[in-house]
């Protein structure tokens, strides 16, 4: 039983990790927790849905178009809304992202209503690919985990090994010094929002078959992702990913052994506890400048 629990924890944890990573990318780049992250993912997931159902596309072209769309949506948020802010403070940025969130939520509600829909991925929930006495792994479980881990890995490669990643890290630490070295910091920030939006969208598409597709589908994953990011340390990319998996495990074990009713409270209890005892998160090794 425990093995089964761990497996389902890892599956949901991979979704949390993706959401947490998405939030962390933009938070690191701009110190803005992007509360529109979930709704951006939701809208993009609806785009996949429309392309699959009304557009008649097959899955892979549809997902490619969705990724492109969500990347542009991220650019749009930075370029049209955040960059225009006059004399911005962190609070005004947060309010802008909440405004953007409500806007997207409104648009989705108007266009698709609050019906719960089913999205058809090429991975089936009923097809079991591994089974013995205590454990069963479905195709959807495996695909979710594999895709999530692959995306996490790609993001790490991007950040650690490419020039773009280096520029992102430089801008995160010191915007002025980055500009002095010829890095177009505005563009890098916009690209960060684009990448983070894509990561969130992949979480959205993967989570859609588990929960159902409707405008408020991403509320829970977003809050859990946020909790995971806080747990791991908002500014450590490794930290938030571990935080995501950890949260999945803690939540499921709590739900099974202690109380299923209070399962979803665990994430928020974790936010409170982490902020209380170690506000920088478990894995944040932020360099502190000596005064």
């Amino acid at each position: 039983m425990l093995t089964q629990l761990i497996i389902s924890s890892l599956v949901i944890g991979s979704i949390y990790s993706l959401m947490a990573l998405a939030m962390s990318i933009t938070y690191k780049a701009s110190e803005i927790p992007n509360f529109a992250q979930g709704e951006m993912a939701m809208i993009s997931t609806f785009v996949t849905f429309v392309l699959l159902n009304s557009g008649g596309l097959s899955f892979y072209p549809a997902i490619l178009i969705t990724i492109l769309f969500s990347f542009c949506l991220g650019l749009l948020l930075e370029f049209i809304f955040l960059r225009r802010a006059k004399d911005p403070t962190p609070l005004s940025f947060i309010v802008i992202t909440i405004g953007f969130q409500l806007m997207l939520y409104g648009i989705a509600g108007w266009k698709w209503g609050s019906d719960q829909r089913q999205i058809n991925l090429p991975f089936s929930e009923s097809k079991v690919i591994f089974q013995n006495d205590s454990v069963a792994i479905t195709e959807l479980n495996l695909a979710t985990l594999v895709i999530a881990v692959a995306v996490l890995f790609l993001i790490f490669l991007l950040v650690q090994k490419t020039k773009l990643g280096l520029a992102m890290k430089a801008c995160q630490q010191n915007v002025n010094a980055s500009r002095m070295n010829g890095i177009p910091s505005d563009k890098i920030l916009a690209i960060s929002f684009g990448i983070s939006s894509v990561v969130g969208t992949i979480a959205g598409v993967l989570v859609a078959p588990i929960i159902t597709l409707d405008p408020s589908m991403m509320w829970d994953p977003l809050l859990k992702g946020f909790a995971a990011a806080v747990l791991g340390g908002m500014k450590s990319l490794y930290g938030v990913v571990i935080g995501g998996f950890l949260l999945g495990i803690i939540e499921n074990l709590f739900g099974f052994y202690i109380s299923i009713e209070f399962k979803s409270v665990v994430a928020f209890a974790i936010i409170v506890l982490v902020l209380y005892f170690k506000p920088s998160g478990l894995f944040d090794k932020h360099y502190v400048r000596k005064v």
């Binding site: 020039k163 430089a170 010094a177 010829g182 890095i183 932020h286 360099y287």
Partner: protein, 259 residues
């Protein structure tokens, strides 16, 4: 006839509604080392920041020509791309990146990875300590090492003009000497150097020309040899007392001829 690599004409820079530069003009000769001296708050750093386009919508008035092309109002990235390097006051290295990554950031605009590699070797030869610390986070370096890193980082882009803002700030005399020894080497590579300093003594020793700033204006200029012999400069910047006064404060009463 020597050409000017940088011509600044009558620039005015505002911080909000406060005017920090009141019509500053100067020229930098190609291949020279020019120093800009002045006290705290004179506007030296503001001049450099304005040239580099780091202040939004500034300069308010005036023009800046780099190699004959206007750069005022352009984005910093573009200006850096045209060939101006900047060593900022207080180093501003990327604390959480390694020394090597810092140098790679400096080479962000360059496409030739071979050239970048050989330039990195050159930096390690200028400052051997950086090679030893190549994989260490820059935030763990000492102030002097960070200064060396900031200079190397700016050189990685192969600038034609290097602006240095108080490279001696907060360093021990031995390190200051070392930093100042590298400046002529940089010039010999064909890079024009503008050196903003409070350490007038060291700066005038190494520079060919000097400008002196006070309260957002350039008050005097000349070859550094002439400046070193100027009585006001001697007294107010080099700390050589000319007259023995009975009361200490009398020193301040003497009128400067400029100003």
């Amino acid at each position: 006839m020597s050409e000017n690599i940088l011509e600044v004409k009558n620039i005015e820079t505002y911080y909000d509604k406060v005017r920090a530069l009141h019509g500053v003009s100067f020229e930098i000769q190609k291949g020279s080392i020019t120093t800009i001296l002045g006290n705290n708050g004179a506007g030296k750093t503001t001049v450099l920041n304005t040239v580099l386009g780091l202040l939004d919508d500034q300069p308010d008035k005036g023009t800046i020509l780099f190699n004959g092309k206007r750069i005022d109002g352009k984005d910093t990235e573009k200006i850096v791309g045209m060939g101006i390097g900047y060593v900022p006051e207080g180093r501003e290295v990327f604390d959480e990146l390694t020394v090597k990554e810092n140098l790679q950031v400096g080479a962000f605009l360059r496409k030739d990875s071979k050239g970048v590699k050989s330039d990195m070797e050159k930096m390690y030869e200028y400052f051997p300590v950086l090679r030893d610390r190549a994989n260490q986070q820059a935030g763990t370096l000492s102030g002097g090492e960070q200064q060396m890193l900031a200079i190397s980082r700016a050189l990685m882009n192969r600038p034609k003009l290097l602006l240095m803002d108080e490279p001696s700030l907060g360093l021990s005399p031995a390190l200051v000497k070392m930093i100042f020894e590298i400046i002529p080497t940089i010039r010999d590579e064909g890079i024009t150097v503008v050196l903003v300093e409070q350490n007038a003594n060291m700066a005038l020793k190494v520079a060919d020309f000097g400008y002196i700033m006070e309260n957002g204006r350039f008050v005097t200029s000349g070859s550094s040899k002439n400046l070193r012999e100027d009585e006001d400069v001697k007294e107010f910047y080099l700390g050589i007392k000319l007259e023995e006064s009975v009361k200490g404060e009398q020193r301040y009463k003497r009128k400067r001829r400029w100003g």
